[in-house]
């Protein structure tokens, strides 16, 4: 989504400061998996607000439908069946962009302004600047961005940046019938999460906790998990997400070093020529060869 903005905290492939005079409150979406009933109202609201209709796919035999995120489905419910102490637990997780404080997608993106992070924490794709290389997919620790087969641009959850910018809550929050989805300032969401976690602990979930992974600087989509010690139970939610060291090498210090070495080689050549002169054939040798030829 593109909105003229004065509160850009980070901008892809940009080495100078972006417009950032306006400071906004850091926001967060809180997903309380313990009160989610898996109704998919959030999925429907996402389609409706963003006016997207994914292709009707195939039922993979479980409730997950569509079975994965796509360029047109920016959030999907993932259902995991887990047995513990002789009890079946149905762990339901709303998957989508986590809006990392340190976004791997933005770090990897080579197109200026194709990915921005606003000061409120929302990480947004500006598809009109996207060149379709897929580097963001390589950078993302959560496997979120999807390339569209129609236009070769990448798409993902915008955290309804257009709605949030005008003081509305994201569409999924508005549609949730149980209050499992909450939206507000990140501080308020943490406070609310603590209440939920205390309640869960009271009810025997001793490992209940907040998922706000520090490996990516924290996220602006957080989960309350009954098993915060084992996030993988929730259909592979990464336990310790972080930007891959390979991506950091690729996009980190190696680039200025390579630039400096290449510039040094080019200048070195110039100054070598200027100081040493060209490597020409000796005059005596030329005369000698000429004599031989006669």
């Amino acid at each position: 989504m593109a909105l003229q903005s004065l509160d850009i905290a980070l901008r892809s492939a940009t080495t100078t400061p972006s417009p950032s005079v306006r400071q906004t409150t850091e926001v967060a979406k809180l997903i309380d998996v313990s009160t989610c009933i898996g109704c998919k109202a959030c999925q429907a609201a996402c389609m409706e607000w963003n006016d997207l209709r994914d292709e009707v796919g195939h039922n993979s035999g479980v409730l997950d439908n569509p079975s994965d995120l796509t360029a047109e489905s920016w959030t999907v419910m993932r259902y995991a069946e887990h047995e513990e102490n002789g009890k079946l637990e149905w762990l339901i997780r709303k998957d989508g962009c986590m809006h990392c404080a340190d976004p791997g997608c933005l770090k990897a993106c080579p197109a200026p302004g194709a990915i921005v992070k606003y000061s409120n924490g929302i990480v947004d794709f500006h598809e009109e600047n996207c060149i379709g290389c897929g580097y963001c997919i390589t950078g993302c620790p959560f496997n979120i961005p999807r390339i569209s087969k129609k236009d070769s641009k990448v798409y993902k959850c915008t955290l309804c940046s257009d709605r949030v910018a005008v003081g509305l809550e994201p569409a999924c929050i508005k549609a949730c019938p149980t209050g499992a989805l909450q939206f507000g300032s990140k501080e308020a969401m943490k406070d609310y999460a603590n209440e939920r976690i205390a309640d869960l602990k009271d009810r025997g979930f001793k490992d209940a906790g907040l998922y706000d992974p520090p490996g990516v600087g924290g996220t602006h989509v957080m989960y309350v998990l009954h098993h915060a010690d084992r996030p993988e139970l929730y259909k592979g939610l990464p336990a310790k997400p972080h930007i891959s060291p390979l991506v950091s090498i690729w996009k980190g210090v190696t680039k200025p070093i390579a630039n400096a070495v290449l510039a040094g080689l080019a200048l070195g050549g110039l100054f070598h020529y200027v100081t040493q002169g060209p490597n020409e054939v000796d005059k005596e040798l030329e005369d000698e060869v000429e004599k031989e030829e006669k």
């Binding site: 492939a13 940009t14 080495t15 080579p110 197109a111 200026p112 600047n129 060149i131 379709g132 290389c133 897929g134 580097y135 997919i137 390589t138 496997n143 390339i147 070769s152 891959s244 390979l246 991506v247 090498i249 690729w250 190696t254 680039k255 200025p256 390579a258 630039n259 070495v261 290449l262 080689l265 080019a266 050549g269 070598h272 020529y273 040493q276 002169g277 060209p278 490597n279 020409e280 054939v281 000796d282 040798l285 030329e286 000698e288 060869v289 000429e290 031989e292 030829e293």
Partner: protein
């Protein structure tokens, strides 16, 4: 054509055409690749019709370069095998660079520097091809761990290749008469005797 007795044929028309096809591909790939390498160079995508066009064209030009490089490889791999004298030449490289060409051992058709260039470029080409295919999302969709590895290999190898090409281009500018060998195919006899004496003996019988 060596229609002048003062000149020796060094590269055939096919060899020259092959070399310059690779060179054109390289320049296009370096310009579009650098655009993705660092934000400073992103404006170079304008030369290709914008970022999206640069992204679309880069891998296809890469395939063309691989195919044409293969031609160069088979034409020149025989004359680029490293020998014991090459080690001595490389050891004395500092003297040559500092303006003393007389302490260098006799060289065949290619000197040790050219041979090292040939093999470095060949290895780079192979690495760029494999890693490039791995990150080509229009056609392939590999596990992300492999793609992450391939992007690092691709960027690092490309930087090495560009660096060596800078040396290659500078050597052609610095050693007078070299550029002409690749443009027109011929070199003066004296040039051959000075820079590639063993090759000079071989082709002239002197």
């Amino acid at each position: 054509m060596a229609n002048n007795s003062n000149e020796l044929q060094r590269y055939s028309a096919q060899e020259r055409a092959n070399h310059w096809l690779v060179a054109v591909c390289f320049v296009l790939l370096a310009l579009s690749g650098l655009a993705f390498f660092h934000p400073w160079f992103f404006p170079l995508t304008g030369l290709f019709g914008g970022g999206t066009w640069a992204r679309i064209l880069h891998p296809y030009i890469g395939l063309l370069m691989t195919i044409s490089f293969l031609g160069l490889f088979f034409r020149f791999s025989g004359s680029n095998s490293l020998t014991a004298t090459d080690k001595e030449w490389l050891g004395n490289l500092g003297k040559l660079v500092n303006g003393d060409p007389h302490s260098m051992p006799e060289q065949g058709k290619h000197n040790a520097g050219q041979k090292v260039m040939f093999w470095v470029q060949s290895i780079c080409m192979l690495l760029l091809l494999i890693s490039g295919l791995m990150i080509w999302r229009s056609w392939f969709n590999l596990p992300v761990e492999l793609v992450r590895f391939a992007v690092v290999v691709h960027a690092a190898t490309a930087a090495v290749m560009i660096g060596f090409i800078f040396v290659h281009i500078y050597a052609a500018i610095w050693v007078k008469g070299t550029l002409r060998a690749m443009l027109r195919g011929t070199v003066p006899r004296a040039w051959a005797k000075q820079h590639h004496r063993a090759w000079y003996r071989q082709v002239t019988g002197k």
